[in-house]
């Protein structure tokens, strides 16, 4: 394939022969394009539900407009204490995830990169990214076995050693840390793969030159590896910031329980509870739209900022 692509700029050719030459590549592009159109663009038609009074049996074009110039459901959401709490929790948990969870894969990739014994390195890598493939329901099952107040393994160990039970799952503050910890545990190995790939792309001559100049392990890490993967870090950081009001559904939903809902209800579970269970589709579409708009604003903001600081942005 690389052979054909290098040939492109050489010859001037008509559109027809261009297509004839590369139709296979465009054919390959068709599937992802179709996916985006069917699952991402067509559903956007239904965004108008946020401004209309939803009815299950009416065409979306015929539904009547909501009160207050269509803004009824946005007003309702923002005056709803549950929504405000869910928004607070979403931002709070995501920020914590960012602060704690974002640097860990980088540090891990750096450490892993320094290991000389490749077999050990491979084993560690495999073991750490495996939890990524576990569903959150299973992880919660494991967490219950380990952290439940009276039957959890860790708590039994603590009490046998003479300590007090730690309410990992049933006290809001402890729960937050359990939530963050489980998130990190589940994803840091997987997330480090990108960084390891970026590190592998760094020119090894740089390291050799640095060694000749007498640089040690840490200064090589600091002056070569980290700058080498900086573009990757920035791009992932921008994406993470763009997702600050978004949230996955499975993780909070699986880990929630009635004692910690004040800190555990996030927007995605709020939407599930009010929208799908409570059938308030207009209200929750409004919330979803709000999430998307804020997400885009954050994404653009972070992107602009990083370009101002001299980094390459997403585009």
């Amino acid at each position: 394939m690389s052979k054909t692509t290098t040939a492109v700029p050489e010859r001037k050719q008509s559109f027809g022969s261009y297509i004839r030459r590369y139709w296979q590549l465009y054919l390959l592009l068709l599937l992802p394009m179709a996916y985006l159109i069917v699952f991402k663009y067509i559903p956007m038609i239904y965004v108008q539900i946020a401004f209309k009074k939803y009815s299950i049996v009416q065409s979306v074009w015929k539904m009547p407009w909501a009160k207050n110039h269509g803004m009824q459901y946005f007003i309702q959401a923002f005056s709803n204490p549950d929504f405000r709490r869910a928004l607070r929790n979403t931002v709070g948990l995501n920020l914590l995830d960012l602060v704690v969870g974002f640097p860990i894969p980088i540090i891990f990739a750096l450490i892993l990169n320094e290991l000389v014994f490749t077999r050990f390195k491979k084993v560690v890598q495999t073991i750490t990214y495996m939890p990524h493939f576990l569903s959150w329901v299973i992880i919660y099952g494991l967490a219950l076995q380990l952290f439940a107040p009276s039957t959890g393994f860790v708590n039994i160990l603590i009490t046998k050693l003479g300590g007090e039970t730690v309410p990992f799952l049933n006290d809001p503050v402890h729960w937050i840390w359990t939530y963050i910890f489980l998130g990190v545990w589940q994803s840091f190995g997987w997330n480090s793969i990108v960084y390891l790939a970026a590190i592998a792309g760094i020119n090894s001559e740089l390291y050799e030159a640095a060694s000749v100049d007498g640089a040690g392990r840490f200064s090589k890490m600091w002056h070569i590896t980290l700058p080498g993967i900086r573009p990757t870090i920035v791009i992932l950081l921008i994406m993470a910031i763009g997702n600050i009001v978004g949230s996955g559904f499975d993780r909070p939903f699986a880990l929630q329980n009635n004692l910690v809902m004040n800190v555990a209800e996030v927007l995605s579970t709020y939407v599930y509870r009010y929208g799908i269970k409570g059938l308030q589709f207009s209200l929750t579409t409004a919330v979803g739209l709000f999430q998307s708009v804020v997400g885009v604003i954050f994404l653009l903001g972070a992107n602009t900022l990083s370009r101002k600081l001299g980094e390459r942005g997403l585009w």
């Binding site: 296979q24 699952f39 204490p81 009635n258 409570g278």
Partner: protein, 568 residues
């Protein structure tokens, strides 16, 4: 050449994927509300006129075979039969085809998340023709959107074709939910043949072992719990630290129902009970707070299960603890420890702990008058409704008629002689543990008898005689005792027909999950924090829609019944 082949293959794969994409998401999300939906909007109006024509049945049969789908609960029992395909479903299918020329297929919905699941099915336009739910607000919400068929004209027009349905449910249950203003009937209520609700159970063998009497008051009950805890070594030996003197689940409002009800005034007016009664777990009734305060005290004395709140609906951890013999007492459905034949709690105790080990019913929570006040919901059970995607309302009603036939109910409840039941010497029916496809996934096949909950045999005499024998492997004495206690000092709910309460639409699930949170957080709060946890929880509940419901209920009660506080 190789590349060409590969790309052709990819192209093929893509076309397949594309057609799949186009078909799958378009149906529920895009098309249903757009086209299929519009037809449905007009359908109720058209169909309302349609029943006026003469019935198309000949001898109760359609000329051409009709097809309907019926919802069936899936309880996911260990070793149960397939709820969609077993001896009973096949029998129903045969009978329906023979009697009415209607082909029935079943669609399972998980029992413990039925409201969520039926919501999703309705929203996707793929709900079964005959739907069953315990949640009337769900029916009402869909009805408001035009998603449910109004049964009123059908019930009247086809009355002659539906003798069993009318006989069994009668006006009381058929019109229980009739809107007084519009006359709409969105759902008919199944009949609760046995209205027993919640009863408290205690380990009789533990009482005997410690030389204690069955407690008859809250104070005595508390003393017994303390005694269980203090004597855990004697009772459980090496497993002493696993003891749970009194167990509840996250659903405190149900699982401590008799305790909560004992704190409510037994002479409460119908009006007050109704106005504060949107939550069927009594959260906003006067007295509930004090009941929960008592639970909070017990919790902090270490008399309750520490982890109750972190296990969700349908989790079997607590049941497993009961079966293993770690639990001293609990409150639950009146027949809970007897259910599920060989896998029942009492059968497990007998096997795992010892011949005498068993939970027996007690009635320890006295009310302020010294009785043992228990509120019953009224003779209603599940709500049966037809979504507007149902093209066969008459065939579906014939299904309800068939399933309400006394002989059908009896057959489904007791099955075949020698397989699921035996006849005792005095002629009573005694249920035995069945195997394979004859296993009843729910006690007495309640999931199939969708218009009936509770033993109802063809004669009343037989029913009364047999009730104690309906739990395979359980000592009839235990059943009789639980039944007697469940029927002591009961107050049956009256049917308040004030029309649709708009404030209740779409908010039911949100408020129920808030209710559970308030109960759980209040029970497990530190004693000093109890008041603030409870009060802030309640004010959040009221602000989130609870107060609007109370206000609208008050207003509509006054509009309908004037100054009357009690209904006849």
């Amino acid at each position: 050449m190789k590349k060409k082949l590969l790309s052709l293959f990819m192209a093929g794969a893509m076309v397949t994927a594309l057609t799949a994409c186009a078909a799958a998401p378009a149906a529920p999300a895009a098309e249903a509300p757009a086209d299929g939906g519009e037809a449905a909007v007009e359908a109720p109006a058209e169909e309302a006129a349609a029943p006026a024509e003469a019935s198309e049945l000949v001898d109760g049969k359609f000329a051409e075979t009709r097809e309907i789908t019926v919802e069936i609960y899936d309880r996911g029992n260990d070793g149960g039969s397939n709820p969609e395909d077993n001896d009973y479903t096949r029998w129903i299918q045969e009978q329906m085809l023979e009697k009415h020329n209607v082909k029935v297929s079943f669609q399972k919905v998980p029992r413990w998340t039925e409201v969520d699941d039926i919501n999703n099915l309705l929203a996707g336009g793929t709900a079964p023709d005959v739907c069953v739910t315990y949640s009337y607000p769900t029916v009402q919400t869909y009805a408001d959107m035009g998603g449910v068929i109004d049964l009123a004209p059908y019930l009247e027009t086809y009355k002659a074709d539906l003798p069993n349905l009318w006989n069994w449910l009668g006006e009381t249950n058929l019109y229980w939910d009739k809107d007084p203003a519009t006359g709409n009937v969105w759902a008919v209520e199944a009949k609760l043949a046995n209205m027993n609700r919640v009863v408290t159970f205690i380990r009789k063998d533990w009482l005997d072992q410690l030389g204690l009497e069955e407690p008859t008051t809250k104070e005595e009950f508390h003393e017994v719990l303390v005694a269980f805890k203090d004597n855990a070594d004697t009772l459980l030996g090496a497993d002493a630290d696993k003891i749970v003197p009194y167990s509840v689940s996250f659903d405190v409002g149900w699982r401590a129902a008799t305790l909560i009800e004992s704190f409510i005034d037994p002479d409460i007016s119908d009006k007050e009970y109704y106005v504060n009664g949107f939550d069927d777990r009594k959260l906003t009734q006067n007295g509930t707070k004090e009941a929960v305060r008592l639970l909070n005290e017990w919790y902090n004395e270490g008399l309750m299960w520490n982890d109750f709140a972190i296990y969700g609906s349908g989790d079997t951890t607590e049941d497993d603890m009961m079966k293993a013999g770690y639990v001293g007492a609990f409150s639950h459905n009146w027949d809970y420890p007897f259910r599920n034949g060989e896998d029942s709690i009492n059968a497990n105790l007998k096997r795992l702990v010892g011949e005498d080990a068993a939970f027996v019913a007690i009635d320890p929570f006295e009310d302020k008058n010294g009785g043992h006040n228990k509120f019953l919901a009224g003779p209603v059970d599940r709500k049966v409704f037809f979504p507007s995607t149902n093209d066969e309302p008459l065939a579906s009603l014939l299904y309800l008629d068939f399933i309400s036939e006394p002989e059908t109910i009896q057959y489904l409840q007791i099955g075949e002689e020698g397989v699921t039941h035996e006849v005792t010497e005095d002629g009573a029916i005694s249920i035995i543990a069945a195997t394979g496809d004859a296993i009843q996934n729910s006690g007495m096949n309640i999931d199939y008898t969708i218009t009936c909950n509770g033993l109802h045999l063809t004669t009343e005499e037989l029913t009364n005689k047999s009730l104690a024998y309906t739990y395979a492997g359980i000592d009839p004495e235990q059943v009789l005792k639980a039944n007697e206690i469940a029927k002591t000092d009961t107050r049956i709910g009256v049917n308040v027909q004030t029309g649709n309460i708009e404030a209740e639409a779409g908010i039911g699930d949100v408020l129920s999950s808030k209710r559970d949170q308030i109960y759980d957080q209040a029970v497990s709060a530190a004693p000093a924090d109890f008041d603030s946890v409870w009060d802030s929880g309640i004010s959040d509940y009221l602000a989130s829609g609870g107060q609007a419901i109370i206000d609208e209920r008050t207003e509509k009660w006054e509009a309908t019944y004037g100054d009357t506080d009690m209904l006849p």
